[in-house]
């Protein structure tokens, strides 16, 4: 199996396209960071340049107190609602504790555009990695058919399921590698472009308010954003191996990726939305709180995703192993 994977890895990196993909990933990630920096500059210019005198600004510094107080008030009104589910209530109570703690101890919330703030949200690279991994996943089986090399590959004393497994593992290894490359570029630029902030990010751990771990949170978000990469590339891999057409596989996968959330949002009122793949693909929703469908939990999402993955792989393996190769 190791030799088969070495083969796939060798073939992958002998294609120019693969290197181009890495370059694209680096350029897009860097571009996104530059854009963020530009936006953050525009924002601060807007604050400074809105005709306020220095004295007024000095007075407006404790602004965050008002903000936090406003948040606290809205949390409390929502908490008064009896129709909240248990998990929602727990979450709001945690937020309430954090807000009270901030006001009591005079701790400023973290700026979104601070270095720490940036490091904590590396999920954006997931989108680029997803696009590139899908291209590789769609082509890794389909290209053997289109080049005609499938005949050479399957007339070896190696069972077909082993060949397919080596390809699937290689796709995922490639996805992970891209995530790591993207992450390194992202972190480096976050360090270079953004200043360390004065604020602190706080969380309620159930007993007390503690400072959130920057790197822990960062890696956790990275892991969650790999979820959609894994699911979408598995889908592309399955379509590519069943229909032997990489363009069909790329098209369908990206279609699902882009329209899936819309479909889920449209159906969110109905029970069926809970069992759609799209509803669960973005695992970062549990951290950002932007849930597509209410009252789903992480374990539930993981279960639904696992079922879909198994279905995709079963279809892919059974057709690949049984197929009569005539081309």
């Amino acid at each position: 199996m190791l030799n088969l994977m070495r083969n796939e890895w060798m073939k992958l990196w002998h294609k120019k396209g693969t290197w181009v993909m890495v370059a694209i990933l680096i350029v897009i990630t860097a571009g996104m960071m530059a854009l963020m920096k530009w936006i953050s500059i525009q924002d601060s210019n807007f604050d400074n340049g809105s005709g306020l005198s220095v004295e007024v600004q000095a007075e407006s510094i404790p602004d965050w107190h008002e903000g936090v107080q406003g948040d606290l008030a809205s949390i409390q009104t929502r908490l008064a609602d009896d129709s909240l589910t248990k998990s929602e209530r727990k979450k709001l109570e945690g937020e309430e504790k954090v807000a009270e703690y901030r006001l009591a101890n005079n701790i400023e919330p973290e700026d979104h555009f601070s270095r720490e703030g940036m490091i904590k949200q590396p999920a954006d690279i997931g989108g680029t990695v997803l696009l590139l991994t899908v291209i590789v996943a769609a082509g890794i089986v389909a290209s053997e058919f289109s080049q005609g090399t499938i005949k050479m590959l399957l007339t070896r004393p190696v069972k077909r399921w082993k060949i397919l497994t080596s390809k699937f593992l290689t796709v995922n290894l490639f996805g992970i590698l891209l995530m790591v490359i993207g992450y390194i570029v992202y972190i480096l630029l976050a360090m270079i472009l953004f200043k360390s902030g004065t604020g602190q990010d706080l969380v309620w751990n159930g007993k007390e308010v503690v400072e959130a771990s920057v790197w822990g949170q960062s890696l956790y978000m990275l892991l969650l954003s790999f979820g959609s990469v894994f699911v979408t590339s598995t889908f592309a891999f399955a379509v590519g191996s069943v229909f032997r057409s990489s363009s069909l596989a790329i098209g369908l996968s990206l279609f699902i990726y882009f329209t899936g959330t819309t479909i889920s949002a449209m159906l969110s009122k109905y029970e069926v939305a809970k069992y759609l793949l799209f509803t669960h693909m973005d695992l970062t929703q549990f951290e950002t709180g932007m849930m597509l469908v209410e009252d789903i939990t992480m374990p539930f999402s993981l279960t639904v995703l696992a079922v879909y993955i198994v279905v995709f792989l079963v279809i892919s393996y059974s057709t690949f192993v049984k197929r009569d190769v005539t081309a």
Binding site: N3, L4, R6, N7, M10, K11, H14, K15, K16, Q147, G148, T149, K151, M152, L153, L154, T155, R156, P157, V158, K159, K322, D324, V325, T326
Partner: protein
């Protein structure tokens, strides 16, 4: 001699159509067997079932006593395959391609790869990308990948497609050499009958999914004579009276006669006052025999067989 490969009642049914119908065939070490058949007879399907590209619906392929059905990996580890044009990874060098395929077999060393490269005479360009190779180079590389693991059985589907005459000749000699020195059993399918005739010790002919003939090429060929004389009806009558099989050919007849019968036949012709234009030995080519067996083409009614 113990056969290297045995096909036992090999069958393939697609839908309700029997593509291959209970094929039985044994292939022996050191022997080159040609596989002939008209288009659509099932040559390619048979070969694909022998190398694991297609699944048989009945019967089995036995390679050195191992059934492909029961133990695919071990059975196929003794087989070297060239299926039509050997398609390689064009974006990699010839050497990397060989390394790739070597990794899929057990026990192919670096030295063995170099040895095979020398054997097929590709030392000079092996590190260039396959995309830059000519068809002849690619055929050599295809042969190299099939030989890496020292197969006991080499199976080739249309191997000389696109080779120039010198290349074909070299290829033929090379096949002969490995068959004889290493005792490899070789199975070649081809449309090029003259090619098969020069290359093979034995031919198997398939038609409509059935094996219709297996014959040794070295078998003493039946001798035929071409006789041209008039009037035709009289000639035919005389020949039939001699107890010979008669076949219309060009302006005269082909008869399946032995050399010592010929003077007698000519004497009787003269005695009967026939005008004799030509009596000459006729060598039936494989092409004639093939067309005769498969009934293709414009062959006149046959009294023989």
């Amino acid at each position: 001699m113990k056969p290297v490969v045995e096909l036992k009642n090999l069958s393939k049914t697609i839908g309700s159509k029997k593509i291959i119908d209970s094929l039985n065939l044994s292939l022996y070490p050191g022997q080159i067997t040609g596989f002939l058949g008209p288009n659509g007879a099932g040559k390619t399907t048979t070969i694909r079932m022998m190398v694991g590209l297609m699944k048989q619906t009945g019967g089995d392929v036995i390679i050195e006593g191992i059934s492909l059905r029961d133990n695919f990996e071990e059975g196929l580890s003794k087989v070297g395959v060239i299926v039509e044009n050997p398609e390689m990874y064009k974006f990699m060098s010839g050497y990397k391609n060989l390394v790739h395929f070597a990794r899929m077999h057990k026990g192919v060393t670096k030295e063995r790869i170099d040895e095979v490269i020398r054997q097929v005479g590709m030392q000079n360009r092996i590190h260039e990308k396959v995309g830059t190779y000519s068809l002849g180079m690619r055929q050599r590389l295809g042969l190299a990948q099939a030989l890496l693991h020292r197969p006991k059985f080499l199976i080739l589907d249309e191997p000389t497609n696109g080779l120039d005459p010198a290349g074909i000749r070299e290829f033929r000699q090379y096949l002969r050499q490995i068959a004889e020195t290493e005792g490899v059993s070789v199975f070649v399918s081809s449309h090029m009958l003259s090619e098969i005739e020069l290359m093979c010790d034995r031919i198997a002919v398939i038609q409509n999914g059935k094996l219709i003939d297996i014959r040794e090429m070295s078998e003493t060929k039946e001798s035929y004579y071409y006789i041209e004389a008039t009037p035709l009806e009289k000639v035919k009558e005389l020949l039939v009276n001699e107890g010979l099989a008669v076949e219309v050919f060009k302006n005269g007849f082909l008869v399946n006669a032995e050399q010592q019968q010929i003077p007698g036949i000519i004497r009787s012709f003269i005695a009967e006052g026939l005008e004799v234009f030509a009596v000459q030995p006729h060598k039936k080519t494989l092409e004639d025999e093939f067309l005769e067996m498969t009934g293709g083409g414009q062959i006149a009614e046959s009294y023989a067989k």
